[in-house]
Amino acid sequence: MLKEAYSGSIKYMQILDEEGNVDQSIPLDDIDNEKIIRMYKLMVFARAVDSKVLSLQRQGRMATYGPCIGEEATQIGAAIAMNPNDIFVPNFRQHALYLARGMPLENFLLYWKGYEEGNIPAAKINGMPVIVPVGTQMQHAVGLAFAQKQRKTGNAVVAYVGDGGTSEGDFYEAMNFAGVMKVPVILIIENNGWAISVPRSRQSAAETLAQKAIAAGIPGVQVDGNDVFAVYKAVSEAIRNSKDGAFVIECITYRMSMHTTSDDPTKYRSEADVNEWKARDPILRLRKYLSKHGLWNDDMESKMNEEYAKLIDAAVEKEEAFKPDPRSMFNSVYSFIPQVLQEEMDDAEANNYWR
């Protein structure tokens, strides 16, 4: 006997095209004008923060930073779709998501300047701290989702990984657990085309990254990650259905800028590649939509930009007033202070090694 044991396929969704036109065949559900304006403002805000941090970094006022320029829709679509109590698990490039979920800007800046204190408010906004070791956070997301299910909170967990991260064993293991445990987790692949210098084509021989879900027995979809409506719709639906189990959403976007401020993309990709994606910019196309529908004008734009500049400057001022206390490094390691640590701390203080 020879028969087909399994066949699967992955759908691709785009609602808002590059010209700001909406595909009428796909219902917008609860995406109303108020929400659309909110999406736009949050994306612009995230980009303004990115460019401010980059300029501070060049002046030596920030540590290494990886901007999310070009990837805002992939994050804002989900941020708006999430309920207030839903939990998010980022990697290290979800700046727009953090800010949209209510992370105070001065704390956000504090983390990227190099202080753990920046991580403190994440807990209050149901977010996990920035995760640097690639792909590892996906397993935490599955565990968090299991806890939601077990404790009947009704909350969903939304986790992010990059295209590079989907090559890690941890990612596959997380998906497999999520499938078996049937937990309310939405795994978002922020496919920005690049893992530092390695292009998506060299990352996996699979045609889509969403199809990796199929092997774990989880439904998956691919969406235009520069289309905030498509991201919103996919994430909202996944959250609504999350009691039935996990879901994988691959968002196709593009890393318009460097991997981090330590990276020089001219070494491995051409200007032409980047220019091709400039036309697909998520903010640009939403602005086109807003103008077409009379929802936005230049006056509103300049007022918003002014307001953001003030907000950002005020946050930078607060962040720069922060005075680190080296004792915090010792006090926070355990739930108590072991004698060894106490002695090391006293020694450093008494001999003034901290200058």
Partner: protein
């Protein structure tokens, strides 16, 4: 040091076509620190391989390559990400030879940047040498200068054992040193007496070597400085000889003190030379806490002042 390492790997690739380089961004990008810069263009993408982003697979596949007769030089982008391949290292790299009683050996090197001092993000400034040194069957080296880096890399590939090659990021571009062209080896398992002295022995390695040299020279102390170069297997003879000669021993390393390399050295000296010591052994190291974010780096890393105070203390006994 970047140039010296690049040169060493270049020579190794030229010498033996079984040598391959693999890791994240090692090809076109030349590695995030540029250690493999230009090598893919020179030797092709079958010899210098950009891998998908998966540390465990980089190490595990390297093991398979070595079993298949190749000689892989694997790069793990930062030591903090090497933990994802820790299982492969401990379960397989360290014991393949002994559990096959020498019939299967792994001629491979795993390179990774270690240590702080460059204001890098979280997980980018780890000092994990004690973890690997504790896994017997691995060779662990950490050079403190470009000359040693090149010679140790060549020796590492020329021996038929798995070598964990730790490269201090701070030293990649900190200073220049004349390094001879062509192949040469720096013996693995042999420490380097950087400076002879009679009042005190300072055992160190990696980034701390130069800081120790500076402090000793500024204070004009008659100290003997031993740069380990190889952490495991430890050059016990050089250490014990020096301890017996000076009667005072200080160990300086960047990794945290608790359960570290300094503890191992102290124990060896206590076992073999304790009656010849005139003062308790002192360790200067980072505090016993996880490596903090870069804003706290200066509060964390051992500095000249801490080393200087320790020298005063041990000489006052």
């Amino acid at each position: 040091m970047v140039t010296a390492l690049n040169n060493a790997i270049d020579l190794l690739l030229k010498e033996d076509e079984n040598v391959v380089v693999l890791g994240e961004d090692v090809g076109k990008d030349g590695g995030v620190f540029r250690v493999t810069d230009g090598l893919q263009a020179k030797y092709g993408d079958n010899r210098v391989i950009d891998t998908p982003l998966a540390e465990s697979a980089i190490i595990g596949t390297s093991i398979g390559m070595a079993l298949g007769g190749l000689k892989p030089i694997a790069e793990i982008q930062f030591a903090g990400f090497m933990y994802l391949g820790f299982g492969q290292i401990i379960n397989h790299c360290s014991r393949y030879r002994t559990r096959t009683r020498g019939t299967r050996s792994l001629n491979m090197v795993i390179r990774t940047p270690v240590g702080g001092g460059i204001r890098a993000l979280e997980h980018h400034s780890e000092n994990p040498e004690a973890l690997y040194a504790h896994a017997n069957g691995l060779i662990v080296v950490e050079p403190s200068n470009p000359y040693d880096a090149k010679g140790l890399m060549i020796s590492a590939m020329h021996m038929n054992d798995p070598v964990i090659f730790l490269e201090p990021t701070k030293l990649y571009r900190l200073f220049k040193q004349e390094v001879q062209d062509g192949m040469y080896e720096v013996e693995i398992g042999k420490a380097n007496v950087v400076k002879e002295g009679s009042k005190l022995s300072i055992i160190t390695y990696g980034t701390m070597t130069r800081i120790v040299e500076d402090v000793v020279s500024k204070k004009n102390v008659d100290a003997e400085i031993v740069d380990l170069r190889t952490i495991s297997p430890l050059d016990e003879k050089t250490i014990i000889d020096s301890a017996k000669k000076t009667g005072r021993v200080m160990i300086v390393h960047e990794a945290s003190a608790s359960f570290g390399v300094g503890a191992e050295i102290s124990a060896r000296i206590a076992e073999k030379a304790i009656f010849e010591l005139q003062a308790p052994i002192l360790r200067v190291a980072s505090p016993s806490i996880p490596v903090p974010c870069p804003g706290y780096e200066d509060y964390y890393l051992p500095n000249a002042k801490k080393i200087s105070n320790a020298i005063d203390k041990i000489l006052s006994v």
